[in-house]
Amino acid sequence: MKETYRNGRTAFLFILPALLLILFIVFLPIVLNLYNSFFRWNSFEAGKTFVGFDYYVRLFKDPVFFTALKNNSLYAIISLICQVGGGIIIAAILEDKLIRRFQPFFRTVFFIPSVISIAVVGLMWQLIYNPEIGLVNGVLNVIGQSEWAHSWLGDSKTAIYAVVAVSQWQYTGYMTMLFLIAMQKIPMEYYEAAMIDGASKINSFFHITLPQIKEMILVGSVITVIGAFKVFDEVYVMTFGGPGRSTEVLGTMLYRSAFRNDEMGYASTIGTIIFIITLTLSLIQMKLGKSGQEVE
């Protein structure tokens, strides 16, 4: 019996199915994608032409690539502030003794947007942003701020913020939920002890709540940041990169290259770059996550 446990070959056989699945479903496509980025090819033509690093050179000269990077970073920063920062604050308020009675109601309301299909959300917000009949301009007119009324998605200066705002509306509730779960695990005794010592609510938030949910903050931050670099559907549904290229993100740029411009090789190049960015971010997360454990 014990020999079997020590038998490396048997152990290998046990992990073989999982290993094969991972190899074929995860690693092979990544390698193939890298390989494909060195060729000029499209989906309906048989031949491939080797172009070497041409596409990489072109990518780093392409102004749209930098617009996309900028937009993805904007997405990441705003999402961090609103979804992680805002999520913690909302969760802390909902956990407060005074409001806890109503918590299930608010929790559900805040969570609902994140279960709606993105296509529905996109179309709905297109109507909300509509300059003629939309809710945003309607409200601005009613409160007498009509000079603020604006063609939100139609102006290349505001369009990206309008799209980012929709994501905040959709996912802040989801993050709040995650933080609530983490906060409910904190023993009440800490807060009681702090109260007896005369700590204010703000103080106990900074000195008890935040350190106790540190792990969840890390996980939440990484989810939002990586999500921000993979974002595609919100932009695709609401603006498809327009007006002009002002709301282009890496995802839509990849899609446009692959299925509109018939440049699968260029799309593979963009895919590789997205992979490198998200991989780096995940590695950073893993490192930070580990150091977090050590502190505990």
């Binding site: 048997t10 309906f44 300059p131 063609s151 139609g154 990169g241 327009g242 002009g244 411009n261």
Partner: protein, 429 residues
């Protein structure tokens, strides 16, 4: 011993996994019917029944052929066609726009040469209005069969025109005068929904054609030789930008969709709207005879022919991988028969490319007149976004919104077009 048992278990698992993947493909060809896959782009409830009826009729006349029909809407089909053509389940008959959109499939050997079939059946070939077959040809060979013959015209609200004593303009200067009068009288002269930028590209389609010499333009639109150095391209964009700068277009063009603007036009909120012939029926339903139309006015100092009409046929190509070319052609012949073309015109009000099918008895008076315009025209200016290489089209499409919100000048845009045209030249063998 144990390792052996393990190996057996693993093999069984492998069998189960492979078993799962292959069990789905066996129930299709149980009958010995020939299956033709047919892909079109009209899933809308007002159009789909026409295709269902025609397919049913064809199947009852040809009991040994089964048509598997699928429909994907206008915008997604642009992407899906490319993916589908690369896969193993290629439809036998597929929708395609004419011009470069079809020609790229021809270059990739994905489309079947239909010339011999057309030559074989002269009566079929002659039943088409010649101008409708031509845009589907490449190097003198036919690769596509048109289903519709679509033109672009300005429709105007007669009530508004009469109120200000205006008439349909014939030249660009007259057109500007009309716009000016309307503007001064406080009307919205031109409706435009440019959220999907093809709407403004259709303006530029006509302007490019009218401003640039035909031969030069065809040379530029060909991906192998495109340069776009003619000054007419810049002038065309300047003219479009001028319409916007003078405030002739409605507000918020870039964030309004074509369909929404159409409803606003129907509600009488604008004087003129640039639409396709296929939309005439909707206009008639909403404005009930209280409207007129005119083609893009002629431009005095333009180098292109002023007797062209903007528009193009769209229709079907046959896959080069099809196992049943004869049956596919049989179906296309049925689809474009006089009888079914009359039905097309009557049921859904689309202009048919079949000689005599779109007549005042079957079609709306204005649709028949529109087709007459196209028959008499010297040629067709095909949609700019499907007539040039996809990458050139993409540059035009994304920049036209910026031209209209004033953040890019025509010179900047043409420079980008020239750069991408050069890149395309080096890539297309």
């Amino acid at each position: 011993m144990r390792t052996k048992i393990l190996i057996v278990c693993m093999l069984m698992l492998a069998l189960v996994i492979t078993g799962c993947s292959s069990s789905t493909s066996s129930n299709e060809d149980e009958s010995d019917k020939i299956v033709l896959k047919f892909l079109h782009k009209w899933p809308q409830p007002q159009y789909a029944p026409y295709f269902e009826e025609v397919v049913k009729e064809f199947e009852s006349q040809n009991p040994d052929i089964k048509i598997k029909m699928e429909a994907i809407a206008d915008e997604p089909i642009k992407d899906k066609l490319r993916v589908i053509l690369g896969g193993s389940e290629v439809p036998d008959i597929m929708f395609s726009w004419s011009g470069e959109f079809a020609r790229k499939f021809v270059r990739a050997d994905a489309a079947l040469d239909l010339t011999p079939y057309l030559e074989e059946d002269a009566a079929w070939k002659d039943s088409f209005i010649p101008a409708s077959l031509q845009p589907f040809s490449s190097d003198g060979k036919n690769y596509g069969i048109p289903l519709r013959f679509n033109g672009k015209f300005f429709v105007y609200n007669k009530e508004i025109f009469d109120k200000h004593g205006l008439q349909a303009p014939k030249t660009w200067d007259e057109f500007l005068d009309v716009l000016d009068t309307l503007k001064e009288e406080g009307e919205t002269p031109l409706m435009l929904g440019n959220e999907s930028p093809w709407a403004a590209i259709h303006y530029l389609t006509g302007l490019n054609q009218k401003m640039v010499d035909q031969e030069v333009r065809m040379n530029d639109y060909n991906p192998r030789s495109g340069e776009f150095t003619d000054s007419g391209y810049v002038k065309a964009m300047e003219m479009l930008a001028e319409l916007n700068e003078k405030g002739y277009f409605m507000d918020n063009v870039n964030s309004s969709s074509h369909d929404m603007v159409k409803q606003m036009f129907f509600a009488g909120k604008g004087a003129m709207f640039y639409v396709e012939l296929e939309e005439f029926q909707d206009v008639e339903n909403a404005l009930k005879g209280n409207w007129g139309f005119f083609p893009m006015p002629s431009i005095a100092d333009g180098n292109g022919s002023q007797k062209y009409i903007t528009g193009a046929p769209d229709g079907f190509i046959v896959s080069s991988k099809t196992k049943h070319p004869k049956e596919a052609i049989e179906f296309l012949k049925f689809l474009t028969s006089k009888e079914n073309s009359l039905k097309l015109v009557k049921d859904i009000g689309w202009p048919s490319p079949i000689e005599g099918a779109t007549n005042p008895d079957t079609a709306l008076k204005q649709v028949a007149e529109g087709v007459d315009y196209m028959k008499q025209a010297e040629g067709m200016a095909e949609w700019l976004d499907t007539d040039v290489h996809a990458k050139v089209a993409d540059v035009y499409l994304s920049n036209i919104q910026l031209l209209l919100d004033g953040s890019k000048s025509p010179e900047e845009i043409i420079k980008e077009v020239q750069a991408v045209a050069k890149q395309v030249q080096s890539e297309v063998e």
